[in-house]
Protein backbone atom coordinates (compact mmCIF):
# COMPACT_ATOMS: atom_id res chain seq x y z
CA UNK A 1 0.00 0.00 0.00
CA UNK A 2 2.88 2.32 0.78
CA UNK A 3 4.16 1.70 -2.73
CA UNK A 4 0.82 2.74 -4.19
CA UNK A 5 0.67 5.85 -2.01
CA UNK A 6 4.20 6.85 -3.06
CA UNK A 7 3.33 6.09 -6.68
CA UNK A 8 0.41 8.51 -6.53
CA UNK A 9 2.30 11.21 -4.68
CA UNK A 10 5.31 10.94 -7.04
CA UNK A 11 2.98 11.16 -10.03
CA UNK A 12 1.33 14.29 -8.62
CA UNK A 13 4.68 15.94 -7.83
CA UNK A 14 5.88 15.33 -11.38
CA UNK A 15 2.57 16.35 -12.94
CA UNK A 16 2.88 19.66 -11.11
CA UNK A 17 6.41 20.05 -12.46
CA UNK A 18 5.17 19.39 -15.98
CA UNK A 19 2.42 22.00 -15.60
CA UNK A 20 4.64 24.69 -14.05
CA UNK A 21 6.64 24.71 -17.23
CA UNK A 22 3.83 25.88 -19.48
CA UNK A 23 3.20 29.45 -18.29
CA UNK A 24 6.97 29.94 -18.08
CA UNK A 25 7.58 29.15 -21.70
CA UNK A 26 5.68 31.67 -23.77
CA UNK A 27 5.97 29.57 -26.93
CA UNK A 28 4.17 26.69 -25.21
CA UNK A 29 1.45 29.00 -23.97
CA UNK A 30 0.97 30.29 -27.51
CA UNK A 31 0.77 26.69 -28.72
CA UNK A 32 -2.07 26.05 -26.29
CA UNK A 33 -4.12 29.18 -26.68
CA UNK A 34 -3.52 31.51 -29.58
CA UNK A 35 -2.65 28.85 -32.14
CA UNK A 36 -5.81 26.70 -31.86
CA UNK A 37 -7.99 29.82 -31.61
CA UNK A 38 -6.39 31.15 -34.76
CA UNK A 39 -7.07 27.83 -36.44
CA UNK A 40 -10.73 28.01 -35.51
CA UNK A 41 -11.06 31.57 -36.79
CA UNK A 42 -9.21 30.85 -40.04
CA UNK A 43 -11.29 27.78 -40.80
CA UNK A 44 -14.61 29.35 -39.96
CA UNK A 45 -14.07 32.68 -41.71
CA UNK A 46 -11.61 31.83 -44.52
CA UNK A 47 -12.53 28.29 -45.59
CA UNK A 48 -15.96 28.11 -44.04
CA UNK A 49 -17.75 29.85 -46.90
CA UNK A 50 -16.30 27.46 -49.47
CA UNK A 51 -16.95 24.24 -47.58
CA UNK A 52 -20.45 22.81 -47.88
CA UNK A 53 -21.66 20.84 -44.89
CA UNK A 54 -25.25 19.86 -45.66
CA UNK A 55 -27.43 19.94 -42.60
CA UNK A 56 -24.99 21.93 -40.44
CA UNK A 57 -23.61 25.40 -39.99
CA UNK A 58 -19.89 25.10 -40.74
CA UNK A 59 -19.01 26.33 -37.25
CA UNK A 60 -21.06 23.50 -35.72
CA UNK A 61 -19.49 20.98 -38.09
CA UNK A 62 -15.96 22.28 -37.47
CA UNK A 63 -15.79 22.75 -33.70
CA UNK A 64 -15.91 19.05 -32.67
CA UNK A 65 -13.28 18.23 -35.32
CA UNK A 66 -10.90 21.01 -34.49
CA UNK A 67 -11.25 20.35 -30.76
CA UNK A 68 -10.34 16.69 -31.25
CA UNK A 69 -7.36 17.80 -33.31
CA UNK A 70 -6.08 20.27 -30.74
CA UNK A 71 -6.55 17.79 -27.92
CA UNK A 72 -4.61 15.16 -29.86
CA UNK A 73 -1.71 17.59 -30.22
CA UNK A 74 -1.93 18.73 -26.59
CA UNK A 75 0.29 15.82 -25.61
CA UNK A 76 3.28 17.27 -27.45
CA UNK A 77 4.36 18.87 -24.15
CA UNK A 78 5.06 15.34 -22.96
CA UNK A 79 7.23 14.60 -25.99
CA UNK A 80 9.11 17.88 -25.62
CA UNK A 81 9.50 17.44 -21.89
CA UNK A 82 10.73 13.87 -22.01
CA UNK A 83 13.26 14.41 -24.75
CA UNK A 84 14.45 17.51 -22.92
CA UNK A 85 14.87 15.50 -19.71
CA UNK A 86 16.84 12.89 -21.59
CA UNK A 87 19.08 15.43 -23.25
CA UNK A 88 19.81 17.36 -20.10
CA UNK A 89 20.50 14.36 -17.87
CA UNK A 90 17.51 15.03 -15.60
CA UNK A 91 16.29 11.49 -16.13
CA UNK A 92 19.46 10.32 -14.40
CA UNK A 93 18.67 12.42 -11.39
CA UNK A 94 15.12 11.06 -11.19
CA UNK A 95 16.29 7.49 -11.61
CA UNK A 96 18.82 7.85 -8.81
CA UNK A 97 16.02 8.89 -6.41
CA UNK A 98 14.00 6.38 -4.38
CA UNK A 99 10.85 7.41 -6.26
CA UNK A 100 8.43 5.27 -8.27
CA UNK A 101 10.15 4.94 -11.60
CA UNK A 102 7.08 5.02 -13.79
CA UNK A 103 5.99 8.30 -12.16
CA UNK A 104 8.03 10.25 -14.66
CA UNK A 105 5.71 8.99 -17.41
CA UNK A 106 2.46 8.93 -15.46
CA UNK A 107 3.21 12.40 -14.08
CA UNK A 108 3.72 13.84 -17.54
CA UNK A 109 0.61 12.27 -19.00
CA UNK A 110 -1.47 13.31 -16.00
CA UNK A 111 -0.17 16.87 -16.41
CA UNK A 112 -1.42 16.72 -19.99
CA UNK A 113 -4.94 15.95 -18.78
CA UNK A 114 -4.92 19.28 -16.95
CA UNK A 115 -3.66 21.16 -20.00
CA UNK A 116 -6.29 19.37 -22.08
CA UNK A 117 -9.02 20.65 -19.75
CA UNK A 118 -7.59 24.13 -20.14
CA UNK A 119 -7.59 23.70 -23.93
CA UNK A 120 -11.21 22.58 -23.91
CA UNK A 121 -12.24 25.66 -21.93
CA UNK A 122 -10.45 27.94 -24.38
CA UNK A 123 -11.82 26.20 -27.47
CA UNK A 124 -15.42 25.94 -26.29
CA UNK A 125 -15.39 29.57 -25.18
CA UNK A 126 -14.19 30.72 -28.58
CA UNK A 127 -16.62 28.36 -30.31
CA UNK A 128 -19.61 29.65 -28.33
CA UNK A 129 -18.56 33.24 -29.03
CA UNK A 130 -18.59 32.70 -32.81
CA UNK A 131 -21.89 30.86 -32.92
CA UNK A 132 -21.30 27.22 -32.02
CA UNK A 133 -24.25 25.58 -30.27
CA UNK A 134 -24.52 22.38 -28.31
CA UNK A 135 -27.62 20.62 -29.64
CA UNK A 136 -27.59 17.60 -27.38
CA UNK A 137 -28.44 16.71 -23.79
CA UNK A 138 -26.25 17.69 -20.85
CA UNK A 139 -25.42 14.01 -20.32
CA UNK A 140 -24.21 13.71 -23.91
CA UNK A 141 -22.10 16.85 -23.60
CA UNK A 142 -20.49 15.52 -20.41
CA UNK A 143 -19.88 12.15 -22.08
CA UNK A 144 -18.34 13.99 -25.04
CA UNK A 145 -16.00 15.95 -22.81
CA UNK A 146 -14.92 12.78 -21.00
CA UNK A 147 -14.30 11.08 -24.34
CA UNK A 148 -12.18 14.05 -25.46
CA UNK A 149 -10.10 13.88 -22.29
CA UNK A 150 -9.61 10.15 -22.77
CA UNK A 151 -8.51 10.78 -26.36
CA UNK A 152 -6.06 13.45 -25.15
CA UNK A 153 -4.69 11.05 -22.54
CA UNK A 154 -4.20 8.32 -25.13
CA UNK A 155 -2.24 10.62 -27.43
CA UNK A 156 -0.08 11.77 -24.51
CA UNK A 157 1.22 8.20 -24.46
CA UNK A 158 1.82 8.33 -28.20
CA UNK A 159 3.80 11.51 -27.65
CA UNK A 160 5.64 9.99 -24.69
CA UNK A 161 6.82 7.25 -27.03
CA UNK A 162 7.79 9.79 -29.68
CA UNK A 163 9.67 11.89 -27.14
CA UNK A 164 11.61 8.90 -25.83
CA UNK A 165 12.42 7.74 -29.34
CA UNK A 166 13.80 10.95 -30.78
CA UNK A 167 17.20 12.47 -30.37
CA UNK A 168 16.15 16.00 -29.42
CA UNK A 169 13.10 18.06 -28.51
CA UNK A 170 13.18 19.60 -31.98
CA UNK A 171 13.21 16.17 -33.61
CA UNK A 172 10.33 14.94 -31.45
CA UNK A 173 8.33 17.99 -32.48
CA UNK A 174 9.07 17.33 -36.14
CA UNK A 175 8.21 13.62 -35.91
CA UNK A 176 5.01 14.28 -34.01
CA UNK A 177 3.66 16.81 -36.45
CA UNK A 178 4.83 15.04 -39.60
CA UNK A 179 3.13 11.82 -38.59
CA UNK A 180 -0.02 13.17 -36.98
CA UNK A 181 -0.82 16.22 -39.08
CA UNK A 182 -1.82 14.34 -42.25
CA UNK A 183 -3.72 11.81 -40.16
CA UNK A 184 -5.84 14.55 -38.64
CA UNK A 185 -6.53 16.20 -42.00
CA UNK A 186 -7.41 13.08 -43.99
CA UNK A 187 -10.50 12.70 -41.84
CA UNK A 188 -13.95 14.09 -41.30
CA UNK A 189 -12.62 16.86 -39.04
CA UNK A 190 -12.62 19.76 -41.48
CA UNK A 191 -14.61 18.68 -44.53
CA UNK A 192 -17.21 15.98 -45.19
CA UNK A 193 -15.44 12.82 -46.32
CA UNK A 194 -17.69 12.43 -49.40
CA UNK A 195 -16.15 15.57 -50.93
CA UNK A 196 -12.74 13.87 -51.13
CA UNK A 197 -11.49 12.00 -54.23
CA UNK A 198 -12.87 8.46 -54.31
CA UNK A 199 -9.45 6.83 -53.68
CA UNK A 200 -9.00 8.88 -50.52
CA UNK A 201 -12.45 8.33 -49.09
CA UNK A 202 -11.89 4.79 -47.76
CA UNK A 203 -8.70 5.94 -46.03
CA UNK A 204 -10.48 8.85 -44.41
CA UNK A 205 -13.44 6.70 -43.42
CA UNK A 206 -11.28 4.09 -41.71
CA UNK A 207 -9.06 6.66 -40.06
CA UNK A 208 -9.60 6.28 -36.29
CA UNK A 209 -9.42 10.02 -36.11
CA UNK A 210 -12.61 10.19 -38.23
CA UNK A 211 -14.30 7.84 -35.79
CA UNK A 212 -13.30 10.06 -32.88
CA UNK A 213 -14.49 13.23 -34.61
CA UNK A 214 -17.79 11.56 -35.58
CA UNK A 215 -18.26 10.48 -31.97
CA UNK A 216 -17.62 14.01 -30.68
CA UNK A 217 -20.01 15.41 -33.28
CA UNK A 218 -22.70 12.94 -32.30
CA UNK A 219 -22.34 13.74 -28.60
CA UNK A 220 -22.24 17.54 -29.02
CA UNK A 221 -24.67 17.99 -31.91
CA UNK A 222 -27.19 15.31 -30.97
CA UNK A 223 -27.02 13.50 -34.31
CA UNK A 224 -27.26 9.70 -34.55
CA UNK A 225 -23.99 8.25 -33.33
CA UNK A 226 -24.12 4.91 -35.08
CA UNK A 227 -21.11 2.91 -33.92
CA UNK A 228 -18.87 5.94 -33.63
CA UNK A 229 -18.96 6.52 -29.84
CA UNK A 230 -18.14 3.02 -28.74
CA UNK A 231 -15.72 2.49 -31.65
CA UNK A 232 -13.90 5.70 -30.68
CA UNK A 233 -13.72 4.49 -27.08
CA UNK A 234 -12.30 1.17 -28.21
CA UNK A 235 -9.73 2.89 -30.41
CA UNK A 236 -8.72 5.21 -27.58
CA UNK A 237 -8.32 2.42 -25.06
CA UNK A 238 -6.42 0.37 -27.63
CA UNK A 239 -4.01 3.28 -28.18
CA UNK A 240 -3.38 3.50 -24.43
CA UNK A 241 -2.98 -0.28 -24.19
CA UNK A 242 -0.36 -0.24 -26.94
CA UNK A 243 1.53 2.99 -26.30
CA UNK A 244 1.71 3.01 -22.48
CA UNK A 245 3.66 -0.29 -22.34
CA UNK A 246 5.62 0.73 -25.43
CA UNK A 247 6.66 3.99 -23.75
CA UNK A 248 7.53 2.18 -20.53
CA UNK A 249 9.65 -0.27 -22.51
CA UNK A 250 11.34 2.55 -24.41
CA UNK A 251 11.94 4.43 -21.16
CA UNK A 252 13.67 1.42 -19.61
CA UNK A 253 15.76 0.91 -22.72
CA UNK A 254 16.71 4.49 -23.25
CA UNK A 255 17.85 5.03 -19.71
CA UNK A 256 19.77 1.81 -19.17
CA UNK A 257 22.01 2.44 -22.16
Amino acid sequence: MTALRYGISDTLVLAKRSLLRIPRQPDLLVGFTIQPVLFVLLFVYVFGGAIKTPGFDYVDFLMPGIIVQSIVFGGFVTALGLSDDLKKGLIDRFRSLPMTRSALLTGRTLGDVVTNIFQLVVMFTVGLLIGFNFSSSVGEVVAGILLLLLIGYAFSWVFAFIGLSSSSPEASNAYGFTILFPVTFVSSAFVPVDTMPSWLQPIAEHNPFTTMVDAARALFLGIPAGNSVWLASVWTIAIIAVFAPLSAWRYRRVVTR
Binding site: Y6, S9, R17, L20, R21, K88, D92, F94
Partner: protein, 324 residues
Protein backbone atom coordinates in the same frame (compact mmCIF):
# COMPACT_ATOMS: atom_id res chain seq x y z
CA UNK B 1 32.72 -1.79 15.50
CA UNK B 2 34.37 -2.55 12.24
CA UNK B 3 32.64 -0.27 9.74
CA UNK B 4 31.63 -1.83 6.47
CA UNK B 5 32.89 -0.03 3.39
CA UNK B 6 30.51 2.57 1.97
CA UNK B 7 31.19 1.29 -1.53
CA UNK B 8 32.65 -2.00 -2.62
CA UNK B 9 32.88 -3.42 -6.11
CA UNK B 10 34.12 -6.80 -7.23
CA UNK B 11 35.32 -7.47 -10.77
CA UNK B 12 32.87 -5.03 -12.30
CA UNK B 13 32.45 -5.47 -16.04
CA UNK B 14 30.46 -3.43 -18.53
CA UNK B 15 30.56 -3.37 -22.31
CA UNK B 16 28.77 -1.23 -24.84
CA UNK B 17 28.70 -3.45 -27.91
CA UNK B 18 32.32 -4.26 -28.62
CA UNK B 19 33.64 -1.45 -26.43
CA UNK B 20 34.64 -2.61 -22.97
CA UNK B 21 34.03 0.33 -20.66
CA UNK B 22 34.91 -1.56 -17.48
CA UNK B 23 37.15 -4.60 -17.55
CA UNK B 24 37.05 -5.88 -13.98
CA UNK B 25 37.10 -2.99 -11.54
CA UNK B 26 37.61 -3.56 -7.82
CA UNK B 27 37.06 -0.59 -5.55
CA UNK B 28 36.69 -0.18 -1.81
CA UNK B 29 35.67 3.12 -0.31
CA UNK B 30 35.79 3.39 3.48
CA UNK B 31 32.86 5.01 5.24
CA UNK B 32 33.49 8.68 5.91
CA UNK B 33 36.30 9.02 3.39
CA UNK B 34 36.65 10.80 0.08
CA UNK B 35 37.59 8.55 -2.77
CA UNK B 36 38.77 9.98 -6.07
CA UNK B 37 38.32 8.07 -9.30
CA UNK B 38 40.81 9.69 -11.60
CA UNK B 39 41.19 9.18 -15.29
CA UNK B 40 40.95 10.76 -18.72
CA UNK B 41 37.76 11.00 -20.79
CA UNK B 42 36.45 7.58 -21.72
CA UNK B 43 38.39 5.77 -18.99
CA UNK B 44 35.20 4.28 -17.53
CA UNK B 45 34.69 6.64 -14.59
CA UNK B 46 31.16 7.66 -15.47
CA UNK B 47 30.19 4.08 -16.28
CA UNK B 48 31.33 3.04 -12.80
CA UNK B 49 29.32 5.83 -11.18
CA UNK B 50 26.25 4.98 -13.25
CA UNK B 51 26.42 1.38 -12.08
CA UNK B 52 26.92 2.39 -8.44
CA UNK B 53 23.96 4.79 -8.59
CA UNK B 54 21.70 2.05 -10.11
CA UNK B 55 21.37 3.85 -13.45
CA UNK B 56 23.09 1.05 -15.31
CA UNK B 57 23.30 -2.70 -14.82
CA UNK B 58 26.74 -4.32 -14.78
CA UNK B 59 27.38 -7.17 -17.21
CA UNK B 60 29.36 -9.05 -14.60
CA UNK B 61 30.76 -8.61 -11.12
CA UNK B 62 28.96 -7.07 -8.17
CA UNK B 63 28.75 -3.83 -6.26
CA UNK B 64 27.45 -2.83 -2.83
CA UNK B 65 26.65 0.67 -1.74
CA UNK B 66 25.94 1.31 1.95
CA UNK B 67 25.73 -2.46 2.33
CA UNK B 68 23.08 -2.96 -0.37
CA UNK B 69 23.56 -4.68 -3.70
CA UNK B 70 23.11 -2.20 -6.55
CA UNK B 71 21.31 -4.77 -8.70
CA UNK B 72 19.12 -6.69 -6.25
CA UNK B 73 18.48 -3.96 -3.71
CA UNK B 74 18.50 -1.01 -6.09
CA UNK B 75 15.68 0.86 -4.37
CA UNK B 76 17.40 0.56 -0.97
CA UNK B 77 20.59 1.88 -2.53
CA UNK B 78 18.72 4.86 -3.95
CA UNK B 79 17.48 5.84 -0.51
CA UNK B 80 21.12 6.01 0.69
CA UNK B 81 22.76 7.99 -2.11
CA UNK B 82 22.92 11.42 -3.66
CA UNK B 83 24.15 12.05 -7.17
CA UNK B 84 25.46 15.24 -8.67
CA UNK B 85 27.03 15.27 -12.04
CA UNK B 86 28.71 17.09 -14.82
CA UNK B 87 25.43 17.90 -16.53
CA UNK B 88 23.96 19.82 -13.57
CA UNK B 89 20.67 17.95 -13.69
CA UNK B 90 18.28 20.59 -12.50
CA UNK B 91 15.05 21.72 -14.15
CA UNK B 92 15.57 25.03 -15.92
CA UNK B 93 11.90 25.89 -15.90
CA UNK B 94 11.57 25.65 -12.15
CA UNK B 95 13.01 28.00 -9.56
CA UNK B 96 15.89 26.88 -7.38
CA UNK B 97 13.46 26.43 -4.49
CA UNK B 98 11.00 24.41 -6.58
CA UNK B 99 13.79 22.13 -7.78
CA UNK B 100 14.90 21.30 -4.26
CA UNK B 101 11.35 20.96 -2.97
CA UNK B 102 10.53 18.55 -5.81
CA UNK B 103 13.57 16.40 -5.06
CA UNK B 104 12.60 16.34 -1.37
CA UNK B 105 9.10 15.20 -2.25
CA UNK B 106 10.53 12.46 -4.47
CA UNK B 107 12.69 11.28 -1.55
CA UNK B 108 9.32 11.14 0.28
CA UNK B 109 10.31 13.66 2.94
CA UNK B 110 6.82 15.17 2.94
CA UNK B 111 5.82 18.67 1.91
CA UNK B 112 6.74 20.67 5.03
CA UNK B 113 10.13 19.06 5.62
CA UNK B 114 10.91 19.26 1.88
CA UNK B 115 10.31 23.00 1.89
CA UNK B 116 12.27 23.57 5.08
CA UNK B 117 15.19 21.56 3.73
CA UNK B 118 15.07 23.46 0.42
CA UNK B 119 15.34 26.79 2.23
CA UNK B 120 18.15 25.50 4.42
CA UNK B 121 20.15 24.23 1.44
CA UNK B 122 19.61 27.38 -0.60
CA UNK B 123 21.08 29.47 2.16
CA UNK B 124 24.00 27.16 2.83
CA UNK B 125 24.87 27.14 -0.89
CA UNK B 126 24.67 30.89 -1.16
CA UNK B 127 21.55 30.73 -3.32
CA UNK B 128 19.03 32.17 -0.87
CA UNK B 129 18.52 35.33 -2.93
CA UNK B 130 18.29 33.39 -6.19
CA UNK B 131 15.95 30.72 -4.80
CA UNK B 132 12.84 32.31 -6.26
CA UNK B 133 14.33 32.78 -9.72
CA UNK B 134 14.01 30.33 -12.60
CA UNK B 135 17.12 28.20 -12.94
CA UNK B 136 17.51 29.17 -16.59
CA UNK B 137 18.66 32.58 -15.36
CA UNK B 138 21.43 31.02 -13.22
CA UNK B 139 25.13 31.05 -14.06
CA UNK B 140 27.03 27.80 -14.59
CA UNK B 141 28.47 27.90 -11.08
CA UNK B 142 25.05 28.53 -9.52
CA UNK B 143 23.59 25.54 -11.40
CA UNK B 144 26.34 23.27 -10.13
CA UNK B 145 25.76 24.45 -6.58
CA UNK B 146 22.04 23.82 -6.95
CA UNK B 147 22.78 20.42 -8.44
CA UNK B 148 24.99 19.57 -5.48
CA UNK B 149 22.32 20.88 -3.10
CA UNK B 150 19.75 18.64 -4.83
CA UNK B 151 22.01 15.65 -4.22
CA UNK B 152 22.06 16.51 -0.50
CA UNK B 153 18.35 17.00 0.08
CA UNK B 154 17.90 13.72 1.95
CA UNK B 155 21.27 13.95 3.74
CA UNK B 156 22.46 10.80 2.00
CA UNK B 157 25.33 8.98 3.70
CA UNK B 158 26.99 8.28 0.35
CA UNK B 159 27.44 10.98 -2.24
CA UNK B 160 28.52 10.45 -5.84
CA UNK B 161 29.97 13.40 -7.69
CA UNK B 162 30.60 12.77 -11.35
CA UNK B 163 33.10 15.36 -12.52
CA UNK B 164 31.59 18.00 -10.27
CA UNK B 165 33.68 20.88 -11.57
CA UNK B 166 34.16 20.04 -15.26
CA UNK B 167 33.71 23.16 -17.32
CA UNK B 168 33.61 25.55 -14.38
CA UNK B 169 35.82 28.58 -14.02
CA UNK B 170 38.44 28.51 -11.29
CA UNK B 171 36.50 30.62 -8.82
CA UNK B 172 33.44 28.40 -9.03
CA UNK B 173 35.64 25.31 -8.74
CA UNK B 174 37.17 26.53 -5.51
CA UNK B 175 33.73 27.42 -4.18
CA UNK B 176 32.49 23.92 -4.95
CA UNK B 177 35.58 22.34 -3.39
CA UNK B 178 34.93 24.25 -0.19
CA UNK B 179 31.34 23.01 -0.17
CA UNK B 180 32.45 19.41 -0.70
CA UNK B 181 35.05 19.67 2.07
CA UNK B 182 32.41 20.99 4.45
CA UNK B 183 30.22 17.95 3.71
CA UNK B 184 33.04 15.56 4.28
CA UNK B 185 33.73 17.12 7.65
CA UNK B 186 30.15 16.17 8.59
CA UNK B 187 30.89 12.52 7.84
CA UNK B 188 29.48 12.04 4.35
CA UNK B 189 31.28 9.46 2.24
CA UNK B 190 32.12 10.89 -1.16
CA UNK B 191 33.08 9.13 -4.33
CA UNK B 192 34.08 11.65 -6.93
CA UNK B 193 35.32 11.24 -10.45
CA UNK B 194 37.56 13.77 -12.01
CA UNK B 195 39.97 14.25 -14.82
CA UNK B 196 41.61 17.07 -12.89
CA UNK B 197 44.61 15.85 -11.00
CA UNK B 198 44.73 18.82 -8.69
CA UNK B 199 41.10 18.23 -7.74
CA UNK B 200 41.73 14.64 -6.68
CA UNK B 201 44.87 15.73 -4.87
CA UNK B 202 42.99 18.43 -2.97
CA UNK B 203 39.86 16.48 -2.04
CA UNK B 204 40.55 12.76 -1.95
CA UNK B 205 41.87 10.61 0.87
CA UNK B 206 42.46 7.81 -1.57
CA UNK B 207 42.66 7.79 -5.33
CA UNK B 208 42.18 5.05 -7.88
CA UNK B 209 43.64 5.85 -11.26
CA UNK B 210 41.46 4.33 -13.94
CA UNK B 211 42.41 3.98 -17.56
CA UNK B 212 40.70 2.04 -20.35
CA UNK B 213 38.36 0.31 -17.91
CA UNK B 214 40.98 -0.86 -15.43
CA UNK B 215 42.26 0.45 -12.14
CA UNK B 216 45.95 0.91 -12.85
CA UNK B 217 46.97 2.33 -9.48
CA UNK B 218 45.44 2.97 -6.09
CA UNK B 219 46.60 4.67 -2.94
CA UNK B 220 46.74 7.93 -1.07
CA UNK B 221 47.83 10.93 -3.10
CA UNK B 222 51.20 10.76 -1.35
CA UNK B 223 51.65 7.06 -2.07
CA UNK B 224 50.97 7.66 -5.72
CA UNK B 225 53.47 10.47 -5.79
CA UNK B 226 56.02 8.22 -4.12
CA UNK B 227 55.63 5.78 -6.97
CA UNK B 228 56.93 8.45 -9.27
CA UNK B 229 59.74 9.42 -6.98
CA UNK B 230 60.19 11.92 -4.22
CA UNK B 231 60.86 15.60 -4.31
CA UNK B 232 63.38 17.25 -6.54
CA UNK B 233 65.50 20.38 -6.57
CA UNK B 234 65.55 22.35 -9.79
CA UNK B 235 68.63 24.54 -10.01
CA UNK B 236 69.11 27.11 -12.71
CA UNK B 237 72.73 28.08 -13.16
CA UNK B 238 74.04 31.52 -14.15
CA UNK B 239 76.29 29.80 -16.66
CA UNK B 240 74.44 26.94 -18.26
CA UNK B 241 77.70 25.64 -19.78
CA UNK B 242 78.71 24.33 -16.36
CA UNK B 243 75.83 21.85 -16.03
CA UNK B 244 78.00 18.71 -16.06
CA UNK B 245 80.24 20.15 -13.36
CA UNK B 246 77.19 20.90 -11.26
CA UNK B 247 75.85 17.35 -11.71
CA UNK B 248 79.16 16.02 -10.40
CA UNK B 249 79.20 18.45 -7.46
CA UNK B 250 75.65 17.56 -6.44
CA UNK B 251 75.89 13.77 -6.82
CA UNK B 252 76.68 13.27 -3.13
CA UNK B 253 73.47 14.91 -1.84
CA UNK B 254 71.15 13.41 -4.44
CA UNK B 255 69.02 10.32 -3.82
CA UNK B 256 69.37 9.42 -7.47
CA UNK B 257 71.66 10.65 -10.22
CA UNK B 258 71.11 14.36 -11.02
CA UNK B 259 70.42 15.16 -14.65
CA UNK B 260 70.16 18.12 -16.99
CA UNK B 261 66.85 19.17 -18.47
CA UNK B 262 65.66 22.38 -20.11
CA UNK B 263 68.89 24.13 -19.05
CA UNK B 264 68.35 23.29 -15.38
CA UNK B 265 69.97 20.75 -13.13
CA UNK B 266 67.39 18.36 -11.66
CA UNK B 267 68.40 16.80 -8.38
CA UNK B 268 66.18 14.05 -6.93
CA UNK B 269 66.33 14.24 -3.15
CA UNK B 270 65.04 11.99 -0.42
CA UNK B 271 63.78 14.95 1.61
CA UNK B 272 63.93 18.59 0.98
CA UNK B 273 64.70 19.63 4.55
CA UNK B 274 68.29 20.89 4.68
CA UNK B 275 69.09 19.85 1.14
CA UNK B 276 68.70 23.33 -0.31
CA UNK B 277 71.43 24.63 1.96
CA UNK B 278 73.59 21.59 1.16
CA UNK B 279 73.13 22.12 -2.55
CA UNK B 280 73.97 25.79 -2.30
CA UNK B 281 77.09 24.93 -0.28
CA UNK B 282 78.19 22.21 -2.72
CA UNK B 283 77.87 24.49 -5.73
CA UNK B 284 79.51 27.38 -3.90
CA UNK B 285 82.48 25.13 -3.06
CA UNK B 286 82.74 24.22 -6.74
CA UNK B 287 82.57 27.90 -7.67
CA UNK B 288 79.37 27.56 -9.68
CA UNK B 289 76.98 30.53 -9.43
CA UNK B 290 73.24 29.86 -8.92
CA UNK B 291 70.65 31.96 -10.72
CA UNK B 292 67.58 30.33 -9.16
CA UNK B 293 66.72 27.28 -7.08
CA UNK B 294 63.33 25.72 -6.49
CA UNK B 295 61.79 22.59 -5.00
CA UNK B 296 59.52 20.57 -7.23
CA UNK B 297 56.93 18.31 -5.62
CA UNK B 298 55.59 15.63 -7.97
CA UNK B 299 52.04 16.21 -9.11
CA UNK B 300 49.46 13.69 -10.14
CA UNK B 301 50.29 14.69 -13.70
CA UNK B 302 53.61 12.98 -13.16
CA UNK B 303 51.79 9.99 -11.70
CA UNK B 304 49.61 9.66 -14.75
CA UNK B 305 52.47 10.00 -17.19
CA UNK B 306 54.43 7.47 -15.22
CA UNK B 307 51.58 4.94 -15.10
CA UNK B 308 50.24 5.16 -18.61
CA UNK B 309 53.20 6.43 -20.54
CA UNK B 310 51.14 9.32 -21.83
CA UNK B 311 50.02 12.60 -20.39
CA UNK B 312 46.55 13.07 -18.95
CA UNK B 313 43.90 14.95 -20.87
CA UNK B 314 44.79 18.19 -22.62
CA UNK B 315 41.92 19.92 -20.79
CA UNK B 316 43.89 19.48 -17.62
CA UNK B 317 46.69 21.54 -19.06
CA UNK B 318 44.34 24.30 -20.14
CA UNK B 319 42.83 24.41 -16.74
CA UNK B 320 46.18 24.67 -15.04
CA UNK B 321 47.08 27.61 -17.24
CA UNK B 322 43.79 29.24 -16.35
CA UNK B 323 44.46 28.60 -12.67
CA UNK B 324 47.73 30.51 -12.62
Amino acid sequence: MLAQPAVETTRLHKSYGSVEALRGVDLRVETGSVFGLLGPNGAGKTTAVRILTTLLLPDDGSAQVAGFDVVHDASKVRAQIGLAGQYAAVDENLTGFENLEMVGRLYHLGRGPSRARARELLSSFDLADAGGRLVRTYSGGMRRRLDLAAALVARPPVLFLDEPTTGLDIRSRIGLWDAIEALVSEGTTVLLTTQYLDEADRLADRIAVIDQGLVIAEGTPDELKDQVGGERLDIHLCDSQRGEEAVAALASIASDRPFLEDGSVRVPVAQRRGTIAEAVRALDDAGIAIDDISVSVPTLDDVFLNLTGRPAEPETEELKVEAR
